[in-house]
Subunit: 332 residues, 2 copies
DNA sequence: TTGAAAGCGCTAACAA
DNA sequence: TTGTTAGCGCTTTCAA
């Protein structure tokens, strides 16, 4: 592949001049500039980004570290990040940690080694991993999940509020024994959505009880098992709020398998949509999040942080909406 | 951040020795090696991959260019690629072309500029874009969709056979006016699945007719519109075979909206699964593909190609299966 | 406005 | 076995 020296030779100018023409950094005699452009064409020259990056001690790569690439929530989010990144000349390396702190640590190490320009992370929960990025002064934006103990730019949704909406809606529909299937305690979204559920119950004079709460893993199977265990209680619930989309699907599968009628016998509300929710029977009531915009917002913050590392960190909170469908509307 | 010189100084050895210790390329006095390891620890040294790549004229990045990150088919495939890449020390840059040849061309240019170690591509159809990669001797593997006119490693499923299975099944169920909603002509999967459909009809003595065939865009809306236009025919179909998952969803939505009973009035079979197919009512009969394994196979081929650029190109074909569910089983 | 030359951090000849 | 040195391809002083 042609180098800048080949172009310089072909155009009969110095490499410095080629660089000036290519980067528009300084004024160049139009005649020389034209010769350079022609040589670039002739040789089909493409600047070597690796060399450029080394020289400038910077790169054009962002790492996006998410916990489950199979979850449409994250793919939509990544798309939001990517569209903004692309527009600012960055490429996105997608890293799937599978909720595994070990894998996450490996990706963080890779981001460090590659001297990535920035990292967007939805953490699997170990805070110390992120500190290495902070220490190395690599710009970081936390997305969807909060980072404990470090001050970084963060993009979240109003988890507590969304969970309150969901739980209050179930109460309004006349459900009384409302269960909650949430995620691992160490993950902020799991904790916040549980808090919203508890707060809604209390504000209506109900006392949340631990045996209607399950800590699962944000996956389909986990939702299924949690639902099964709830149904096996001596006093099983008459409704369930699941704090993410996949666990909602799992819970509904369990109810279908056991022949429990939804919503007549048990009402269901889930946090975050699933695609084709309208084709699923019964259609699912969900707290919907602006997933794509979450990604966009994070990408914008990251871009700003890279441009201005000294700027104070900010936290963006996006809104959630309750979409009422069949799974929670009790026949009168 | 610490450089190899800092480590060398700290360990009181030459940079070359540090490099030898770190890469295990040559034997080093254990005493010196220990000093180096200690210095690496003390300084929290991380090799600069950018510099290493420049020096070696190689990178550890693969680009995976797909046409729709919102399609679970591709996310599963990417996961397969990623798992293998990770195992061989490569990272994956995910590029989403949105079926747009322009965007695809931009990503190819980026892969070229970054001197990516390899590219896995599910092309949106313009062959000349890929030629730039070939000319630059960047290893390429075509996945899911064939590349016309160039000889590259390729991983496909048996599209013609799968389409035949689907169509024959609909005939067996007693459907007679079977329509086909396929993708853009320039995309090999669209053409091959259409061919399978036509072949199945012919082998049973039916003549495929053009007014039961629609060329859509592999998206949900396209499937919806194609189905609507089929229903508006003077002699509408009594069954439909859609050649990808999203168009199948769109077609079913259209049937639901128009109050057309599935499978009683119109039978439906789709190519490729959707997640939660079992929760959708009616559940969808599909030709299922080993999506994750497609990704794995492509990644393995890419790894081999990088290790041995001279090896002859190969084509891997994986099998498809018909999963019969409600949408195509006519009540007797 | 242009060219010469140094250097980003690393690895691999080559010499010792 | 170890150190010295050159150079990957680029950008940016500095001098002309």
């Amino acid at each position: 592949m042609a180098t800048i020296y080949d172009v310089a030779r072909q155009a009969q100018v110095s490499p410095a001049t080629v660089s000036r023409v290519l980067n528009g950094r300084a004024s160049v005699d139009p005649v020389l500039a034209a010769r350079v452009q022609q040589a670039v064409q002739d040789l089909n020259y493409r600047p070597n980004v690796v060399a450029r990056n080394l020289r400038l001690s910077q790169t054009s790569l962002w790492a996006v570290i998410i916990s489950d690439i199979g979850n449409p929530f994250f793919t939509s989010m990544v798309r939001g990040v990517e569209d903004v990144a692309q527009g600012s000349g960055f490429s996105v390396v997608l890293c799937n940690s599978d909720e595994d702190p070990e894998k996450e640590a490996r990706y963080v190490a890779a981001a460090l080694a590659q001297r990535m320009a920035g990292v967007v992370i939805s953490t699997s929960g170990r805070p110390n991993v992120i500190n290495r990025l902070i220490e190395a002064r690599i710009p970081v934006v936390a997305i969807d999940r909060q980072l404990r103990g470090v001050s970084v730019d963060t993009v979240l949704v109003d988890n507590v509020h969304g969970a309150e909406l969901a739980t209050t809606h179930l109460l309004d529909q006349g459900y009384r024994r409302i269960a909650c299937i949430t995620g691992p305690r160490r993950i902020s979204t799991a904790a916040q959505r549980l808090r919203g559920y508890q707060r809604a119950l209390k504000s209506r004079g109900h006392q949340p009880t631990d045996n209607l709460i399950r800590f699962a893993d944000f996956r389909e199977e986990g939702g299924y098992r949690a639902m099964a265990s709830l149904l096996d209680e001596t006093e099983p619930p008459d409704a369930v709020f699941a704090t993410n989309n996949l666990m909602t699907v799992g819970a509904v599968e369990c109810l279908v398998d056991r022949g429990v009628k939804v919503p007549a016998k048990v009402g269901v509300v889930g946090f975050d949509d699933i695609p084709w929710a309208h084709l699923v029977r019964p259609s699912l009531t969900t707290v919907s999040q602006p997933t794509y915009d979450l990604g966009r917002a994070a990408a914008v913050l990251l871009g700003e942080r890279i441009a201005n590392p000294a700027k104070p960190t900010s936290m963006v909170t996006l809104h959630t909406d309750l979409h009422i469908r069949e799974s929670s509307t009790r026949p009168a």
